[in-house]
Amino acid sequence: MIRTTRLDIATLRRQVNSSVGRSVGSAARLAIGVPAPQRRTRRRNRKRLGIDGEERRNALGRFLVQEHRYANGRIHGKVPIQRLQALGASWVESISAGEAAAVDPKRWAFLDTETTGLAGGTGTCAFLVGVGAIEDDGFLVRLFFMRDYDEEPAMLHALAGCLGNFDVLVTYNGKSFDAPLLETRYRLQRQRNPLACMQHVDLLHAARRVWGERLPNCRLGTLESEILGVERQGDIPGSLIPQRYFDFLRSGRAAPLKPVFHHNVLDIVSLACLGSVLMPVYAAPERAPLRHGEDLLGLARWLARLGDSDRALHLYRRAIHAGLPSSQLFPSLWESARLERRTGNAAAQVQLLRDLSRVSNIYRAAAFEELAKHYEHREHDFVRALDMTRRAQRYAPSAGLKHREDRLLRRLGVPRAAAAASS
């Protein structure tokens, strides 16, 4: 075995500079080739002053906690914080369509993390975790912050202690991001994962159902401005947050982190307010206080998927009445026609199919065919059925329609030859 036993950092630096793939004198070489900066004095002495909050200590070490209180009298965008008091225990049950059990709102933890990246995997760390809770006098957000990597065990331990006071976790996209990430962190620190024994409600899915059709995307920031009417001032874009933290680790300067804390707090308050907006929607969907046709349609489709046809139809009607763009109107008519049939309301189905058959749209041929089925099988009106079949064929001829036409002609007693002549 041949081992290159020299382990010379100068060589390594040369290797990095000159590896194939970089031309000589490129900027990369200059950047990496500069002499190493002087090792800074140990981080223990580094000033981390300038961060608000209180240093806490537990069995595993130290970390920092900040508390941000939103009194009931405050307004977040258009939503008064007071409204959070109106959230009821059954909300958890209704928004999760029965998957989670009802829990007192005081035992819900609204959670959001700020991380060192979006890549996932074991090398991504949640350096800031915020937990919001509804209290009698308002909304309280607690931030758990690790000032360096060695504070992670203590911070996670404290977070676990805090979450022990709650039964339900409310997040935005937490099922695919925050929860697996925290699970990984707890596993790496060999600590018990407090999330494992909590019910988890991810509002992303609930929000997407309602607003997915109308809004360009369902990012929390979009909903915040479109639905809650919040305009953030001096906010930091999420993509810059990891680098801010890395810069802080190296420089010890806390000021640039301030917007990151603020960002996290706002996310959690918005999350809770979004919950309060969604509460009446899910508590009684048929009376959902929504004005936009598309929003109502999203809800209608969800109920249809759950098999709640009556309430779904009610919402379809409301959506159509509220006004829908044609790209949504025709599908809505078609879907509600099918639902009407399923619930046995033939008259309503026929009315919807007639509407669809009158104007040019992608369901027109299908509507004629459904009408043909209706007249043939339910009303036994073969003449009208034949008429509908032939109209359907005009838009979308198919073997099935031809077969139906032949059968109807037989049923009407028209001989084959005559039929051919007449058509």
């Binding site: 075995m1 590896s19 793939g21 990246g117 680790l249």
Partner: protein, 796 residues
């Protein structure tokens, strides 16, 4: 690749006349292989026979051992139900080592039941402990699929709840979760382990906690850069396993190489026991070396090996013998498939009895071909090395090697595809005119008596090591004082801190970058940088990818780029964008880049007198620049034009072996300065060939240069000949060259002497048109001076 084909096409044109001169070796209608062999023997007796050697391995009886008592009775019953009542001796030995908690590497030929060597201990462990887990690593996805079937065959017979799955890039994401939660045995590949498993190890916590065995099959494929990467991936793997409190045992299988135990120990960095006493039976096997006759002595041109291989394969196929033809590249595979299909007619089902097989085919298509071979539904397959690895295709009657596979080990492995347990089988090696082929076919003793090649890895190549240290830091913080391989990591981490990817806190280094380091590191080569080839003939379509170093010589502006036999003209080469824009063309020539390579020695590790010269090895800086290109006409190889290019300079640090010929010695030689230089270049070409032979590496893994950085008249008078590792950082090829410098010199001399050409040819120092009229003579003189130390003058 192109040159080989050029020769072959030319051969086609000449075939008619040549066939009259040389009788077909196999003209009989006899359908038995014995008859064919008889003809070969007869042909061998003729003067100037194209048959270089015939070796026959007699049939061998199986040697069995009873199934060890320690094996779970349910498992031995399951084996019995599969017809396995006893074990071959090597299987039993492997079992004993594993039972004694020793890592083991098993070396036996193709089709000797080596998979049972690892399936047996794993299944036995699972019979006792249903929570136990094992990780199997194969170099390709196809092998994993193949071995899953094999494993499930026994595990089903066992009636156990053992759950084995493949886990690779093809695994759908919903299946992945279930596999992570439930699998006992995961069959994967190093690339997936590197980028998919290790960076997400927390999701695999259960698996790692119960990980008992790691199986590495086809161990010999992990050499050079790939092996050096794997060694580092395994460092990461054992580190993660230790985090979950497990210390798995390794069971490795390798084809025959000179140093399997050493390779296993270098890769795993643990002691290994070696099992190489093959107890499996085999029938009588013949190996025939065939060198196509010379048709142009002046230019050293032989009959096309492609056509000769086709003729050999045709002879076997005509006799209804199942035949596998190995070609050394994609293009030759396609050409041979076409030729043999044309010659073979159709089966009653209307399908051709001959099929091609190579990496570019769809997996489904490949599985079908493998199955058809096993079931004897097809008679012949033309394959690249894709069929060299242990995919189960049954055993065949005949193997034809179109060109020397490049190493002794790989030749034996391909030849091993022929060999029924009973009856006779034949392998014919048809040599091409490449130097390596000619050396081997003219020196059969090198092949038959010599040891197969060594496989070398250099896990401590700094560039490779540091990239995996980054991944390791991503996976788990690197503790102060922790070692990664033989090194203290502190210094390396401080270096990484300068680049901003790690940060020290508490007593460990933490990953502080948004990037996902495994994504940027490809295990199969050192740099992952590549160029995309965009065809803009109609719209724009990506037609290929070319690795960085190759792009500079094959994708420069005005180059002709070849892809699947089609010609493209490079319109624009965007260096910074890493793109080349090409257009389809039809033209009668291809291009060959002219590259200037300069070497600067940075540090000598060792030097020693060797005859009249001084041999050295050490660290060098290579500066290369593409300065122009030649246009070369297809078929005739005429130079029909050239062009100048101005391409960016590339710099690389690597290790080299070099020879220095002192001025006094060169001054005493009766040749012109130019002739001396030509001779040196010629010697370089020869050294590259024999160096590649010695190191079991591709000749392209070694670079040669006679240009040192001190240019000008002194350089010509006091030249150095460099043989360098063609990878940044070096992969450990220079030191063994230095160690074996004496035999390197004598092999070079023998190669030149044995070559029948007059003044150089592609098989030795290079064609006279390229290296000059006197190159062969001077090169021989220089090579001679390397061993004749008594006549040497004092060193400079």
């Amino acid at each position: 690749m192109t040159r080989e084909l050029t020769v072959s096409t030319e051969g086609t044109q000449r075939r008619e006349t040549i066939l009259q001169q040389v009788p077909s070796p196999i003209a009989s209608r006899d359908t038995s292989l014995g008859g064919v062999m008889h003809r070969f023997e007869a042909l061998r007796q003729r003067p100037n026979s194209p048959i270089g050697a015939i070796r026959t391995h007699p049939a061998r009886e199986a040697r069995f051992v009873d199934i060890p008592e320690a094996i779970d009775s349910r498992l031995s019953a399951a084996l019995a139900s599969k017809g396995i009542e006893r074990l071959y001796v090597h299987q039993a030995q492997a079992w004993e080592h594993v039972a004694a908690s020793e890592n083991v590497v098993v070396v036996t030929p193709t089709a000797s039941g080596k998979t049972l060597c690892y399936n047996l201990p794993v299944l036995n462990a699972l019979a006792a402990d249903p929570t136990a887990c094992a990780l199997y690593l194969f170099p390709t996805k196809a092998l994993a699929v193949d071995q899953l079937e094999e494993f499930n065959g026994i595990s089903d017979a066992l009636g156990s709840n053992v759950r084995a799955f493949t886990y690779d890039g093809d695994t759908p994401s919903d299946a992945r979760r279930a596999i992570r939660r439930r699998a006992n045995v995961v069959l994967s590949n190093p690339d997936m382990l590197h980028a998919g498993l290790l960076p997400h190890h927390t999701r695999w916590a259960r698996f790692f906690e119960h990980l008992r065995y790691i199986v590495i099959d086809e161990l010999h494929t992990y050499r050079g850069v790939f092996g050096s990467h794997l060694a580092n991936v395994l460092r990461r793997l054992t580190r993660i396993a230790a985090f979950y409190g497990s210390k798995p045992l390794f069971v490795c299988c390798s084809a025959t190489i000179a140093n399997p135990k050493e390779l296993a120990q270098d890769l795993v960095e643990e002691p290994f026991a070696l099992v190489d006493d093959n107890g499996a039976p085999s029938g009588k096997r013949h190996l025939v070396f065939y060198n196509p006759p010379v048709v142009n002595e002046q230019l050293g041109i032989r009959r096309s090996y492609i056509n000769e291989a086709r003729r050999m394969a045709g002879t076997f196929l005509e006799r209804g013998r199942q035949t596998l033809v190995f070609a050394n590249n994609r293009l030759a595979t396609e050409v041979l498939t076409r030729y043999l299909k044309q010659g073979a007619g159709r089966t009653p089902g209307g399908q051709s009895p001959v099929r091609g097989y190579r990496g570019g085919y769809l997996p489904r298509e490949r599985r079908e071909i493998e199955r058809q071979l096993r079931n004897r539904e097809i008679l012949g397959v033309v394959a690249t090395n894709a069929l060299e690895l242990g995919i189960d295709i049954g055993s065949l009657d005949a193997v034809v090697l179109a060109g020397y596979p490049g190493s002794i080990a790989s030749t034996w492995q391909r030849a091993g595809r022929a060999g029924r347990r009973q009856g006779t089988s034949v392998t014919v090696l048809v040599a091409s005119s490449a130097p390596l082929d000619q050396y081997v076919v003219e020196h059969p003793e090198y092949f038959f008596e010599g040891s197969p090649e060594h496989a070398h890895v250099n896990p401590d190549n700094l560039e490779i090591l540091v990239s995996h240290l980054k991944c390791a830091a991503f996976e788990l913080p690197v503790q102060d004082g922790e070692t990664f391989g033989p090194h203290d990591t502190g210094e390396l981490c401080r270096f990484l801190e300068e680049t901003g990817v790690v940060h020290h806190a508490g007593d460990a280094w933490h990953w502080t970058s948004e990037s996902y380091p495994a994504d940027a590191i490809s295990l199969r080569k050192v740099t992952s940088d590549n160029f995309v080839v965009v065809d803009v003939s109609r719209g724009s379509k990506v037609v290929g990818e070319v690795s960085f170093p190759a792009a500079l010589t094959s994708l420069h502006e005005k180059a002709i780029y070849l892809h699947e036999g089609r010609l493209y003209h490079v319109e624009r080469f965007e260096y910074d964008e890493r793109k080349a824009y090409v257009k389809r063309v039809e033209c009668g020539y291809y291009t060959d880049a002219i590259e200037h390579v300069q070497v600067e020695t940075l540090e000598g590790f060792d030097d020693d007198r060797i005859g009249s010269a001084v041999a050295n090895h050490g660290e060098v800086r290579i500066t290369r620049r593409v300065v122009g290109f030649k246009k070369i006409r297809f078929h005739t190889n005429e130079n029909v034009g050239d062009g100048k290019l101005s391409m960016p300079e590339q710099e690389m640090h690597t290790t080299a072996f070099w020879l220095h010929f002192p001025m006094e010695f060169l001054g005493s030689l009766p040749y012109s300065t130019t002739a001396k230089r030509d001779g040196l270049i010629g010697l370089g070409n020869v050294l590259r060939t024999v160096g590649a032979v010695m190191l079991m590496c591709d000749a392209r893994d070694l670079g040669i240069s006679t240009l040192s950085s001190q240019n000008g008249p002194e350089a010509l008078l006091d030249p150095e000949l460099f043989l360098y590792d063609n990878y940044p950082g070096g992969i450990g090829q220079s030191e063994p060259l230095f160690r074996q410098r004496e035999s390197l010199g004598s092999m070079a001399r023998e190669l030149i002497q044995a070559c029948p050409c007059k003044a150089g040819c592609p098989s030795c120092v290079g064609p006279p048109g390229e290296v000059g009229e006197q190159a062969k003579e001077v090169a021989l003189r220089l090579a001679g001076s390397l061993s004749d130390s008594r006549k040497a003058g004092p060193a400079a």
